[in-house]
């Protein structure tokens, strides 16, 4: 390069990137966008927060009636209402975060094309907003657990790990999809269908030990990272007598599969987003 000596004082302008060189700035920006978005949802309609909580609760009510009263499929599962509600809240977080993230970069086109800022803040903020919502919904779950007689126990210490796993997965998928969506608009309908498949392929409506075909159970546990999470949540948080993820998968070593999958999705998402970030503004 023919660098001239007289511009050494200046800072090179290298264009947009995913995170930028200023990590605190990235976090502050992500947090600010997320909180404002949450505020908008919260105060956006008359009943605000009520709707945020009602959605999973209504789904819960319908499924609960169908599975315990109409079909009696889950009648002998201990703590079924709590398991069902927890599953719905966890899945709602995942679907909310990833489903909103897909179009998020395009939704904020006006700022992407006109302001220089770390691009990753957009999908990351979507996940944080979903997380704030998730926190509120968890309070309802806690009330439910108390009412159903779930007692605090040592398994609760696993909570941060489980939530961390869920966040890593959601953020990884969000980065991947939002970056791809800029180029391939088919991602949105595809992901909508995928979410449906993941919903039925996860032990939300049912508990996994009721799945009697071994290979289907194994497939679910090894391919769908949400499945072992839900199994472990049931074991560690709600009912220690229920089988753990390791037990269902046939040994703790098998846990490496979903953990590896989540780590892989996160790494791929970060890689793809970082690669696309410099060009996002022009590809929109």
């Amino acid at each position: 390069m023919t660098a001239l000596p007289h511009h050494t004082a200046g800072r090179p302008v290298i264009g947009p990137s995913a995170i930028g060189s200023d990590l605190p700035r990235f976090f502050v920006l992500t947090w600010t966008i997320a909180v404002l978005e949450f505020k908008l949802r919260f105060f956006g309609s008359v009943l605000g927060y009520v709707w945020q909580v009602m959605r999973p609760l209504l789904l819960f009510g319908v499924i609960y009636l169908v599975f315990t009263q109409a079909f009696k499929l889950a009648a002998d599962v201990a703590f079924y209402p709590v398991i069902l509600l927890t599953g719905i809240v966890i899945f709602t977080f995942f679907a909310d975060a990833t489903g909103t993230a897909v179009t998020s970069v395009l939704d904020r086109e006006n700022i992407v094309r006109k302001i220089h800022f770390p691009r990753l803040a957009i999908p990351a903020a979507v996940v944080v907003t979903a997380l704030l919502n998730f926190g509120l919904n968890l309070m309802v779950v806690l009330i439910f657990m108390a009412a159903s007689g779930v007692k605090p126990h040592w398994g609760w210490l696993e909570m941060p790990l489980l939530v961390g796993y869920l966040i890593t997965l959601s953020l990884g998928v969000s980065m991947l999809l939002s970056a791809w969506y800029v180029r391939y608009r088919d991602i949105k309908p595809i992901w909508d269908v995928m979410l449906q498949i993941i919903f039925y392929g996860s032990p939300v409506l049912y508990v996994l030990d009721k799945v009697e075909v071994e290979w289907i159970k194994s497939l679910m546990l090894h391919l769908n990272p949400l499945a072992p999470l839900l199994v472990q949540v049931r074991h560690a948080i709600i009912d220690p007598n229920a089988p753990s993820a390791a037990a269902e998968m046939g040994g703790a070593i098998h846990l490496l599969v979903p953990i590896g999958l989540v780590a892989g999705i996160f790494a791929l998402g970060l890689y793809v987003f970082a690669r696309e970030a410099p060009r996002i503004a022009e590809d929109l």
């Binding site: 023919t2 001239l4 264009g15 966008i33 404002l36 505020k39 700022i111 006109k114 302001i115 220089h116």
Partner: protein, 415 residues
């Protein structure tokens, strides 16, 4: 640092190159695809910037002038870090602030406070700095009483005040400003320009992107002219503005000529036909670009197809806004032009000192039967297409030579 030292540029752009690959649409034919199978592999490449280099000194008001599609907005965006360069380097010394649009990212459902703080954080301020800036913004916008009102409930005037205040309350060494910042009514535009002037006088370095050469003349110390992504010239605003006019002139000429030559559409009874028209300078050489204040002669050649007595010749000088700026005619001269036989030719000449305002002119030539001049034989609109360049863009249609002075009246005070 010394603003006059050329070795101290605040902004240095070297060999900047940026191309976009645009998804290629059905407009490209199958033939093209077959002929250039590699070139049209789903995308076509558009060179928005090619080999752009320039340096801006500290404290300069630097204009970037170009037509739509000339690459000036792309240049602004690579300077602002919104696009990444393909090749070349950009160095900026100091804090940079980019304003491409008023009120970018404002959310109508959020209060002014939230919007302004978010905007500050997006620009890279810490939360504390953003809150401090918020106070300054709201004070400048004079919106202290409406801080918690949602933006959607603001009047459009309040909205613009807030957005503009956000744009200028920045603690940046280098500002990138797009011309669209100065939108709105005349009063608001004036306010924008006042602020630009203040910033310039305060010694801030400003890069101003525009297609308005008047603005370049008014504000800029120097300017860069872009055409098709390439730098055409860098230098004094006036010289750049003249080059810019010439470029516009060349582009428009082709399409104007195509419509003007259609003789079938021309009004009149066609007892005579206007053959051609041209402009000569003092030496009699044909010219297309006229310098303001210089003498020129406009000539129109006419062929008579029938015998005509005492025809009246007229030239109407229209500018590109279709204002009749000036009319030259023999109809009121009281002079009889005599009898013209069938097949005879004549040249009608108008000589004048060119005191038209700088800009483009499209004169019409008319031959009419004697009388009021309404009994038209042949009328050729846009028979010519010429450009006036000059240093005196006052906003008037013409810039007549004149004397303007002020005489101080002797006051009643003694001594």
């Amino acid at each position: 640092m010394d603003a006059t030292t050329p070795s101290d540029p605040v902004v240095l752009v070297e060999g900047a190159h940026k191309s976009f690959s645009r998804p290629h649409i059905a407009a490209h034919t199958l033939k093209e695809r077959v002929l250039h199978p590699l070139r049209f592999r789903g995308h076509e490449t558009l060179d928005a910037l090619s080999d752009v280099s320039f340096a801006v000194q500290r404290g300069e008001f630097f204009g970037i002038l170009g037509r739509n599609g000339s690459g000036k907005s792309t240049l602004l965006k690579v300077l602002g870090g919104i696009y990444r360069l393909d090749r070349g380097t950009i160095h900026i010394d100091g804090r940079l602030s980019t304003f491409i649009e008023l009120g970018v990212g404002f959310n109508p459902d959020l209060a002014a406070r939230d919007n302004v703080v978010l905007n500050g954080i997006m620009l890279g301020l810490s939360p504390r700095e953003a809150k401090r800036r918020y106070d300054a913004v709201i004070e400048f916008a004079e919106l202290e009483d409406y801080q918690d009102l949602k933006l959607k409930n603001y009047s459009s005037g309040m909205h613009v005040r807030l957005a503009f205040s956000v744009a200028i309350q920045v603690d940046a060494d280098v500002l990138l400003i797009d011309e669209v910042l100065a939108v709105g009514d005349a009063a608001f535009q004036q306010k924008c320009y006042d602020v630009f002037n203040e910033m310039r006088d305060a010694g801030r370095t400003i890069l101003f992107v525009t297609h308005d050469m008047g603005a370049v003349n008014r504000f800029c110390h120097r300017a860069l002219l872009l055409e098709n992504g390439r730098p055409v010239a860098v230098g004094e605003p006036q010289a750049i503005a003249n080059r810019y006019l010439e470029l516009n002139f060349k582009r428009d000429k082709g399409q104007v000529d195509a419509t003007a030559s259609d003789a079938e559409q021309r009004p009149g009874d066609h007892d005579a036909r206007i053959l051609e028209a041209w402009v000569e300078d003092e030496q009699g050489a044909p010219v297309e670009t006229l310098s303001q204040g210089e003498p020129y002669t406009f000539r129109v050649r006419v062929e008579f197809l029938q015998a005509v007595s005492d025809p009246a010749f007229t030239m109407i000088f229209y500018n590109d806004q279709w204002n009749e700026v000036f009319v030259a005619t023999t109809a009121f001269a009281g002079e009889r032009q005599g009898h013209f036989e069938q097949g005879e030719r004549a040249v009608f000449s108008v000589s004048l000192d060119c005191w038209f305002a700088p800009g483009r002119y499209l004169p019409a030539a008319i031959v009419a039967h004697p009388g009021s001049g309404t009994d038209v034989i042949d009328r050729w609109d846009r028979v010519l297409n010429f450009l006036v360049v000059g240093t005196r863009a006052t906003g008037g249609l013409v810039d007549l030579p004149h004397v303007a002075n002020v005489t101080r009246e002797i006051a009643a005070r003694a001594t």
